[in-house]
Amino acid sequence: MKAKDLMIPLQDYLKTDNTLKEAVNLLRAAKRGEEKVGVKGLPVLDEKGKLTGMVSMGDILRAVYPSYMSMMNLGDFTWDGMVESLAKQVADKQVETVMTKNVITIMEDDPLMECVDHMIRNKVQRLPVLDKSGKVVGMLYERDVFFAIVKAMLEENTGGGK
């Protein structure tokens, strides 16, 4: 099985000048097939359609997490309403400022094990899938890889030989 057999074809994506408000709205309502189920991460494309980054739920959490909190152990000294007020402060920031810029990608014809290798090695749960021209054609999610493994385990005949 190859990356393109398991990927979800690209439907929803963000643009670099989208605000975080727009980003979270899309993350919440992104489609999977026909259903609006939301996703944990979306690719960010520039005006020419080139992949420039990824925004995940983790990036949104980091966007409201002040940099000084990571410098010392200050979790015990926070207050009720802190996250909410910081969320309002960063709502109009551009996606570009919070996205993960170093994106791990795969090619549509890459074998599944290569995808698994990337996911484990780089600790990511989703990979943008590129075609030969470098355009994003879909997203490969950890859960879909998981279900492919489940299928192989439970229905032995359809395993590796295919």
Partner: protein
């Protein structure tokens, strides 16, 4: 000045002289330009000094006059180790939260108490470390009180540079001066701490006038600070107790090291070794790895580069020129040293500056008193004010601009991350007048104490 003219002829300006001088100027130019990381410049420059046969490897690694000052390196490494072990105990968070509560969440009181705490902690720890330990809590408190962080960050950086000047271990220039001039911890306490206390008091009064009026905080926001329980900060009370005992032993050791005839680095190394032992850590790797190796190698490289220009006589030549300029007037020389150091340190790194000035002052002393040597020369009563002038000028001068001291660079970086950039001009607007104020106080002090009262 016939002596001076005779001495000039002693410097042979041959090929070696010009190669070393060119290398020195090129290295310092690159360090100032920041085109290449200063540590890389220092390491490569040092290697070239040896490869071009200006100094031998023996000189660079083992000579007290021409090579790496291991006293400075081991003092720095040891203090870094002690702090790295203490950091996870939560003691620094505790001190900062406690300070905010003592200030009852009132903005100017927080600013004043944080400045004083920063100054006191800086007197014992490296300034950058101190700022990295206090500033994150400051940002949290400012967020809680919905206050502008910029004045707090600037005042803390300035306070750390002031406090660091007070002791031998407070700021790298003092560590370097102490090692070269063979001055002990108590000499710094006796000669510098009093004036720094005056400078700090004047500083707190000044920031009251500059920032005091603008800041107001709503009662409900103050409650956020008052609700914080500083005791929760302590994550490892056992290690904290051990650390505090070792720290007390170490500071006690510094106080008596002169009497016991130990170098400061010996005391620091003992403290670091003891704390590593009693901390019960099985994996010292990460504690040692977190030492700031880039800074340490910067020092090592610089010492070797300076060794080259000392050996070829450039520094001696410069010292002769300085004496010619001041006509041997020592009060005038010390004043020039202080003010020149202050403005030089405001724009360039005070570490390479002091590394150059130390041998220059020693060479100057050799011109003045050719028959003396050892501590008789280094501690000549007429030379002592020069060391203090160098320390006060070089340390306090760092307050002049955003790039004058590493602590300033750190807070500017933090402010930018918080989305509140501090421009070079804005920092200078506060830093420069406060720096000049502090150097004026020191000028009066040095003049009064060493040239009028002579005590």
């Amino acid at each position: 000045m016939t002596e001076g003219v005779a001495a000039t002829s002693q410097v042979v300006m041959g090929t070696q002289f010009w190669i070393a001088t060119a290398l020195f100027i090129l290295a310092y130019g690159l360090i100032v330009s920041e085109k290449i990381h200063k540590t890389i410049v220092a390491i490569f420059g040092a290697a070239l000094m040896i490869v071009l046969r200006i100094v031998t490897q023996e000189d660079a690694f083992h000579s007290m006059d021409l090579g790496i000052d291991w006293n400075v390196i081991f003092l720095l490494i040891s203090m870094m180790i002690i702090i790295n072990i203490m950091k996870p105990t939560g003691v620094f968070e505790y001190i900062a939260i406690k300070s905010a509560k003592v200030a009852k969440g009132k903005p100017f009181m927080i600013m004043a108490i944080f400045s004083v705490v920063t100054a006191v902690v800086s007197a014992f720890l490296d300034n950058v470390t101190t700022v990295l330990l206090i500033a994150p809590v400051t940002l949290l408190i400012c967020q809680a009180l919905e206050l502008d962080v910029v004045p707090f960050l600037i005042t803390e950086a300035l306070a750390s540079n002031i406090g660091g000047t007070a002791t031998l271990i407070g700021d790298p220039p003092n560590i370097m001066i102490a090692s070269k001039a063979q001055l002990d911890f108590m000499a710094f306490v006796y000669h510098l701490t009093p004036v720094i206390i005056v400078v700090l008091i004047a500083y707190v009064i000044s920031i009251k006038f500059i920032f005091g009026k603008k800041m107001k905080v709503r009662e409900e926001l103050r409650q956020r600070v008052m609700a914080m329980d500083e005791k929760e900060a302590i994550k490892d009370p056992v290690l904290l107790k051990k650390s505090l005992v070792v720290l007390a032993i170490t500071i006690g050791g510094f106080i008596v090291h002169g009497m016991l005839h130990f170098e400061p680095a010996t005391i620091a190394l003992f403290g670091a070794g003891l704390l590593l032992l009693v901390s019960g850590t099985k994996e010292p790797h990460h504690i040692l790895a977190e030492a700031e190796w880039a800074t340490l190698f910067f020092f090592m490289g610089l010492f070797m580069i300076i060794g080259g220009v000392v050996k070829v006589g450039l520094i001696k030549w410069m010292s002769i020129k300085v004496l010619e300029l001041t006509q041997g007037n020592l009060f005038g020389t010390s004043m020039i040293v202080m003010w020149f150091s202050a403005f030089a340190s405001a724009f360039i790194d005070n570490i390479p500056y002091v590394a150059t000035m130390n041998p220059l002052i020693i060479d100057m002393a050799k011109q003045l008193w050719p028959n003396l040597s050892g501590t008789q020369l280094l501690h000549h009563p007429d030379l002592m004010p020069m060391w203090w002038a160098l320390s006060l000028g070089a340390c306090l001068g760092g307050n002049g601009t955003a790039i004058g001291a590493s602590a300033n660079v750190i807070v500017v970086g933090m402010a930018e991350k918080m989305g509140k950039p501090i421009s070079f001009k804005k920092f200078m607007l506060y830093g420069m007048p406060l720096m000049i104020e502090s150097v004026i106080i020191c000028t009066v002090y040095v003049w009064l104490r060493y040239y009028v009262l002579k005590i």
